[in-house]
Symmetry: C2
Subunit: 102 residues, 2 copies
DNA sequence: ATAATACGTGAACACATATTCATATTATAA
DNA sequence: TTATAATATGAATATGTGTTCACGTATTAT
């Protein structure tokens, strides 16, 4: 591609991409998503596994849910969260592998 | 993988991964990296193309350089920056494509 | 040496964000 | 209805971050 027909990024794309990476830029959210890689899990179970308080986990899950990176289902009083974006989860897995083998 | 032998992330990996995504979590840095996708470019040229002041671009480039996402070469008074991490640039490109076709 | 050009750096500021605390909501059980 | 359990939410706070300003450093030209 030459300099003349360089395609700059539109605002909407820029915002969406940066928001998605922002979700992956925090250690707590990475740990949560990593837990959900091949299983669904309740809020309290996530909190227990990662030694975080419940409120913190709820806040982070809301963040991820707003970006449609996770989804949930209710069963009685318990709410189970699971992944909802294969592309992002694949990128996360790749990056963890890449960082580990270094 | 069962619950029992779930492999949790070590601190070092967690930090490295989150730092890398943090680099991609800011619109300005995304625009800079996008500019450098298939060409090297001087600091002032980047600033001009993206309508940013030179100091801002320098700060962001230092951030990216510390993470070894970009490298530079000097030619007289001018310093040319270019990409230095194929894996990250590939992830960025994929994510831009994914966001664009949506 | 002096001036001019390109880039880097530290401080300061405004703003965003992660976490905690207290409390509200929702659903089950007694 | 009352109590208990699971989760969500809003406020508060501490810390992090992006940008700008003023100035410093490095290189070239005169």
């Amino acid at each position: 591609m030459s300099d003349e027909n360089y395609q700059s990024l539109d605002e909407e794309t820029l915002f969406l991409v940066s928001q998605t990476f922002k979700a992956l830029a925090d250690p707590t959210r990475i740990r949560i998503l990593h837990l959900l890689f091949n299983q669904e899990m309740s809020v309290s179970n996530i909190a227990q596994q990662l030694d975080l308080n419940q409120s913190n986990v709820s806040h982070q899950l809301r963040f991820l849910k707003n970006l449609r990176l996770v989804k949930y289902r209710r069963d009685g009083k318990t709410i189970y969260y699971s992944q909802d974006d294969e592309h992002v989860m694949k990128i996360l897995q790749q990056s963890i592998d890449h960082a580990t083998h270094h």
